[in-house]
């Protein structure tokens, strides 16, 4: 099992591909060609690196969470601080890369889907920076639970379109973005925010996020002198997880754990645990695990976290699952919210609810691993956007009872 890192699309084993209308194929071909040329062009990587240094704030640091780890058995926990990136999450890594490609393709308009709003905010930010028109599709349900991010996007000059079709969440936002793209592909780039979708998105978005794991691997070796025994990341579409995992894929001693949203619980039908409870199918342009009924109709997912509330997952994760290289587990809303509060109170770091799934996973994992083991958690985003949900959940607004 060597050189898993070298795997690129269109296929990851039996997963991936391009299951899209013919009208989009030319745009996907153009994107692939542009991306390959950029990858081979040292000036592209130099420009992206410079943006990351002077705008994103890379490299992001690693923080050891000692007081938090005290609740996780006898292990050390390290946090890769993607929450400290400009715009507050890992999403900016991919967005800046694709924004540069948009310019190279001579396109003037970007569209994006967003769940929690992190990718939408990052896209709106890049659009402002590069002078591009930006339209963000967001499920109507999500515009309500992530109202702060809607305001951020609008302040940045983006148009936010609430999507009222289907389940009115991330899945339907992607459908609407695809419809827009088919109609406007000549001047528009679809800045897809996760490692799902048709080729070349899963490979390209992964490459742009692989900076997370590349940095973290070097930082662990340099600052602590060892590699972590386990990696933990939350998985919706799977972009932050693959970004962390990729550099470690061929370090066989490093175990990898992706934590999906279990919503009301893994023993209930209200979850978003695609890799645990789904089966392979085609959704949004790629073959991968997905939540579907016996007729192949996509099932609605459920999670307190808008960013993980997605019935599909990136094809590379499906491949890693079937290979047994990574394990995927479910974390309930309640477990995630408890971890969110615990990290806030033990480390002074308020994570995004998405990220809290990885933290809850690390708490459980710590009790299973050998004493003295280490876990590297991708702290993929900060929790500012989730204050309203958290305040309601814990009843901590004035006038409400204190604590839950």
């Amino acid at each position: 099992m060597t050189n898993l890192r070298d795997q690129v699309g269109p296929y990851f084993g039996e997963f991936g591909g391009r299951f899209v209308p013919e009208s989009l194929i030319a745009a996907l071909d153009q994107l692939e060609t542009t991306y390959q040329a950029a990858k081979a062009d040292p000036s592209f990587q130099a420009e992206l690196n410079e943006l990351h240094r002077t705008y994103t704030g890379r490299p992001s640091i690693i923080t050891e969470a000692k007081r938090f780890a005290a609740h996780a058995g006898d292990v050390r926990i390290f946090l890769k601080r993607e929450d400290l990136n400009h715009t507050g999450s890992h999403k900016i890594n991919n967005v800046l890369g694709q924004a540069l490609l948009t310019k190279r393709m001579g396109k003037t308009r970007i569209i994006a889907e967003t769940g929690a709003g992190q990718h939408g905010v990052a896209s709106a930010t890049a659009a402002a920076l590069f002078g591009l028109e930006c339209v963000v599709y967001m499920g109507e349900v999500d515009t309500e639970r992530q109202a702060l991010n809607v305001a951020r996007m609008r302040l940045l000059g983006a148009q936010v379109i609430p999507v009222k079709t289907g389940s009115r969440t991330l899945k339907d936002a992607i459908n609407e973005a695809l419809r827009d793209w088919v109609a406007n592909v000549d001047n528009t780039h679809y800045l897809l925010g996760t490692v799902a979708g048709p080729h070349p998105f899963p490979t390209m978005v992964r490459d742009f996020h692989s900076v997370i794991g590349t940095e973290a691997r070097a930082q662990m070796l340099q600052e602590y002198g060892f590699l972590p025994d386990a990696l933990a990341a939350c998985v919706g579409g799977g972009s932050n997880a693959i970004g962390l995992f990729h550099a470690f894929l061929d370090d066989e001693q490093v175990q990898m754990y992706g934590f999906e949203a279990a919503g009301d619980g893994m023993d209930t039908p209200r979850h978003a645990a695609t890799l645990n409870y789904g089966r392979p199918g085609v959704l949004h342009g790629a073959r991968s695990y997905m939540l579907q009924d016996e007729d192949g109709q996509t099932l609605e997912s459920h999670s307190i976290s808008a960013g993980l509330d997605y019935p599909g997952v990136g094809p590379e994760h499906s491949w890693l699952k079937d290979l047994g290289r990574a394990q995927y587990r479910g974390i309930s809303d309640a477990e995630a919210m408890n971890a969110l509060r615990l990290l806030s109170r033990t480390e002074g770091i308020i994570p995004a609810i998405e990220t809290a799934h990885a933290l809850a996973g690390a708490l459980k994992l710590g009790k299973e691993l050998e004493p003295g083991s280490s876990i590297l958690v991708n702290l993929s985003g900060r929790g500012d956007k989730d204050m309203e949900t958290a305040a309601k959940y814990f009843g901590i607004l004035d006038g409400a009872s204190d604590g839950k």
Binding site: V20, S23, I25, A26, V282
Partner: protein, 265 residues
């Protein structure tokens, strides 16, 4: 090379062409608003002048469809449409009329059902084949095999942005006709049929002297149907029929079909 029967779909389009008329291909979703009503509507369309029926399979994520068809197929799903009823509908329609019935379906329901099993049951029900809006020939190996095995038509799409190589491939691999996408966009009525449609059809003619080309997306008036048939082998109408049914039920649907079909006489 296995000898196969000529496609019933292409035979229907060709004979209309030879007699100096064009063809009208009409879309209606199975299960909308209920299974029985959709069967009745489809049969009525065939009796009122459409040459090929395009029976839609309701699907949860129809990325090529505009609001009219989205609303109808969503309602069919809410009313309990099950995939297996597609075959019931095809059986009932083909028992009542001779019109070739092509099923228009997004790929995941077929994949989920089993490609071979879906093809076998479609053939048994008397269906002519499939139109697959989100399956490109590059990803279609299992469908190419199953459609050969059960003698089914397979309609791939050709878009204004398709390269000559891709058009060639769509022509070589399609059976029945090639679906010429008139415009860069999703289904739904438009005031004018895009001039791009002519280009796509010309590209298809360039690639193949045998492939038939039917133009779809945005066609809703008798004038547009007649105009498209001056250069193509058929006009495909969907949203306008569904809209007519939404607004005025079976009667309005029949009136709309008759109106568009009369432009070809």
């Amino acid at each position: 090379m296995v000898l196969r029967m000529a496609s019933k779909t292409s035979a229907a389009l060709s004979s209309r062409k030879q007699s100096g008329n064009g063809s009208l291909i009409g879309y209606f979703p199975a299960g909308y608003p209920t299974l029985d009503e959709s069967i009745a509507a489809a049969i009525a369309m065939c009796k009122s002048g459409i040459d090929v029926l395009e029976l839609g399979v309701p699907y949860s994520d129809p990325v090529m469809d505009g609001l009219v068809i989205q609303a109808a197929t969503m309602q069919a799903l809410e009313n309990g449409f099950k995939l297996k009823q597609t075959f019931e509908a095809v059986s009932a329609i083909t028992a009542a009329v001779d019109t070739p019935v092509l099923v228009m379906t997004y790929w995941n329901p077929v994949l989920s059902y089993g490609v071979d099993k879906f093809a076998r049951e479609l053939a048994q029900a008397g269906g002519a084949g499939l139109i697959t809006p989100d399956l490109i020939p590059d990803e279609a190996q299992s469908w190419l095999e199953a459609s050969d095995k059960y003698d089914l038509d397979r309609v791939f799409l050709a878009a204004p942005t398709s390269s000559p190589e891709r058009i060639q491939r769509a022509c070589n691999l399609s059976r029945g006709f090639v679906y010429a996408v008139s415009t860069m966009g999703i289904t739904g009525a438009r005031n004018e049929v895009d001039q791009l449609a002519k280009t796509v059809v010309a590209n298809i003619r360039e690639a193949s002297t045998e492939a038939l080309a039917a133009v779809g997306i945005g066609i809703s008036t008798a004038e547009q149907v007649a105009d498209v048939n001056r250069y193509a082998d058929g006009a495909i109408v969907g949203s306008a029929f569904v809209r007519a049914y939404q607004d005025g039920g079976l009667e309005a649907l029949i009136a709309k079909v008759s109106e568009l079909a009369s432009s070809l006489k």
